[in-house]
């Protein structure tokens, strides 16, 4: 399989007050299309930073990141925003659904940025909610759903636009064991049935077991 994500000699550091804190020290790796990659490592190792860089919500200090043949490190903010809307589905640890919107409306959000008609948007939303098994909860607000259901709505939102890659930051970190299993099974299914390339950051070894490949980050270096 050709690589859909190529990370070349990427470094990243943050400024905390007047101190520069290095996070990544020239890491290089690639992810083939259809891969389910697990990234593990201790807190502060740079896992989430790698995920953010791949998803185009942060920029590296050096190196290049190519996703679906686009060097996203060279894109402007507005170009990146447009790129994210078509290429990336982001799944957060704490779901990050908008509380004032129903499950249906939350899933429809990224589709508002497309040129789809209202009817086509409805088809996409219903299909996405059907994949995550929440067709009967589309009019529910986040506060009316359990944690696992909220995460499933968040996954439906992530896949609604049929993005090139899915990135998941500790997707089971806030869930009980059963809900976590459901979410991992769902991610596995998205990878196997729908051929989605997934990059997942996790602390949980059980979650990592579901990935095809697990890479470890430690002190900004990939092992």
């Amino acid at each position: 399989m050709p690589a859909i994500i190529e990370v070349q000699n990427v470094s990243k550091s943050y400024w905390r007050d007047s101190f520069e804190v290095p996070v990544l020290n020239g890491i290089t790796f690639s992810v083939p299309e259809g891969e389910f990659l697990g990234l593990m490592g201790p807190s502060g190792s740079g896992k989430t930073t790698v995920l953010n860089l791949i998803a185009g919500i942060d920029k590296p200090n050096g190196g290049s990141i190519t996703v679906a043949e686009t060097n996203i490190a060279a894109l402007s903010e507005s170009q990146l925003a447009k790129w994210r809307s078509t290429h990336v589905g982001f799944i957060f640890q704490f779901y990050n659904l908008l509380p004032v919107l129903t499950a249906y409306e939350n899933v429809e959000l990224p589709l508002l940025l497309t040129s789809l008609s209202k009817t086509d948007r409805r088809k996409h939303v219903e299909a996405a909610l059907s994949v995550v098994g929440l067709s009967d909860r589309m009019d529910h607000y986040p506060k009316q759903l359990s944690g696992g259901q909220e995460q499933r709505v968040a996954i439906a939102r992530a896949i609604a636009t049929d993005p090139t890659i899915l990135v998941a930051d500790e997707p089971t970190g806030d869930l009980d064991k059963n809900s976590a299993e459901e979410i991992l099974t769902l991610l596995e299914r998205l990878n196997k049935e729908f051929k989605k390339t997934i990059v997942m950051v996790t602390h949980d070894p059980r979650a990592a077991e579901r990935a095809h490949v697990v890479r470890h980050l430690d002190k900004g270096e990939l092992k």
Binding site: N52, A55, I57, D58, E77, S78, A81, K82, W83, R84, S85, T86, V88, F90, F92, N96, L98, P99, V100, L101, Y104, E105, E108, L109, P110, L112, L113, R157
Partner: protein, 386 residues
């Protein structure tokens, strides 16, 4: 689901806070509209002035009279169409608190000079026939219950004695900008009493009202009149009616300027109230804005979302405020004697100004929240704990 729906839902997310903000702004809009209406009412005389009317008064002061004999000399100046005149009568009706303008006028010409006071022909005929007849404004008639044929007794102060006037006509103001609380009677009635009781004060008028054919000639005709009576025992000062009216309110200009200033301070208060609400709302939603950016929403979308929410709140508040302004101004005009503010109504410009100010404030109040939302990186936004 449209972005507008999201704006609406965001605006109503904290119902109590939004309600209090809307009420606060609405009250400020009412105060703004009310103050502007007071300012407008103050300038009503100036606003209602006709461009083709000049006023000639004694150059020393308005309270010094002019000879009646000036009338024919002024009338001979080319460009002058009508010369009318009036004298301030003063007087006391019921008690000194019952104030309204009472003037002795040239009965034959006053309505030619002031066509905005409309009198039915039969009433005008009755007024002209009777020496102690008077014309009252429709608002004044409503206030005191005057009817045709009523006798109005007055005690003279500037012109001492007991006076009685019979209501023979009621004028209707041409529109709401025109004072409907005036009281006119025959100058000849006044002059006869002066001839009989105080001959030294006979043959005097307060001021002349000169209707000219072309407003362009106002300056030259004014000069001609004043030059005509230069070095006489009663030198004149002629000016446009607007300037004449302006001179009456000049003494109160500080108060009016203060009213104006306060009305614009109120706009500042509206902005602070809304700005505070928007800053709180945007701060609470820092993480949501980061999520929206992650999904691909651009800076343009966030600007629309935040400014839209702010404008929705300001529009609701502005609309409510404007709706409330009408009953408040209406109640004020009922409570306060009509003669204090003869012309008291909400000008369309006040509505436009208040509405525009509310909307502009809505946009301005969203400036800092927008700046904050745009400056916060997605990574920092996602980490934000409110």
């Amino acid at each position: 689901m449209k972005v507008l729906k999201l704006m609406l839902k965001n605006a109503l997310r904290h119902k109590l806070r939004t309600t209090l903000t809307i009420l606060g702004i609405a009250i400020a809009v009412v105060a703004f509209g009310f103050l502007r209406t007071v300012v407008t009412a103050w300038y009503a005389g100036v606003e209602a002035s006709a461009a083709n009317r000049l006023v000639t008064r004694n150059s020393v002061s308005f309270i010094f009279p002019l000879p009646y004999s000036y009338r024919d000399r002024i009338a001979r100046i080319p460009g002058v169409e009508t010369v009318s005149f009036a004298s301030w009568f003063g007087g006391v009706y019921i008690d000194k608190n019952q104030f309204f303008a009472r003037m002795a006028v040239d009965a034959q010409t006053i309505l030619d000079a002031y066509p905005e006071f409309r009198v039915p022909p039969d009433q005008l005929e009755a007024f002209l026939k009777e020496r102690n007849a008077c014309i009252v404004g429709a608002d004044l008639a409503r206030q005191y219950g005057f009817k045709l044929g009523d006798v109005i007794p007055m005690d003279g102060d500037i012109y001492p004695g007991k006076w009685e006037f019979v209501v023979r006509a009621i004028y209707q103001p041409r529109d709401e900008k025109i004072d409907g609380t005036q009281f006119f009677f025959h100058w000849t009635y006044l002059d006869e009493r002066m001839k009989a009781n105080t001959p030294a004060r006979a043959g005097e008028v307060g001021w002349y009202i000169i209707k000219i054919a072309d407003p362009v000639d106002a300056a030259s005709i004014s000069s001609q009149i004043d030059e005509m009576f230069a070095n006489s025992r009663a030198e004149t000062k002629t000016e446009t009616e607007a300037a004449f009216q302006q001179s009456f309110i000049q003494g109160t200009s500080l108060i009016i300027n203060l009213f104006n200033f306060i009305s614009f301070v109120i706009i500042g208060i509206i902005m602070l109230v809304l700005g505070n609400t928007m800053i709180m709302s945007a701060r609470e939603r820092t993480k949501e804005y980061a999520v929206l950016k992650t999904l691909g929403f651009s800076a343009k979308h966030l600007v629309g979302l935040i400014a839209g929410e702010s404008v929705i709140i300001s529009a609701l508040a502005g609309g409510l405020g404007l709706l409330l302004t009408y009953p408040v101004v209406g109640a004020f005009s009922l409570v306060v004697p009509k003669s204090w503010f003869p012309v008291f109504y909400i000008e369309p410009s006040t509505i436009v100004l208040a509405g525009t100010a509310a909307l502009a404030v809505g946009i301005a109040a969203s400036f800092f929240p927008i700046q904050r939302a745009l400056r916060t990186s997605i990574v920092d936004g996602l980490r934000f704990v409110g």
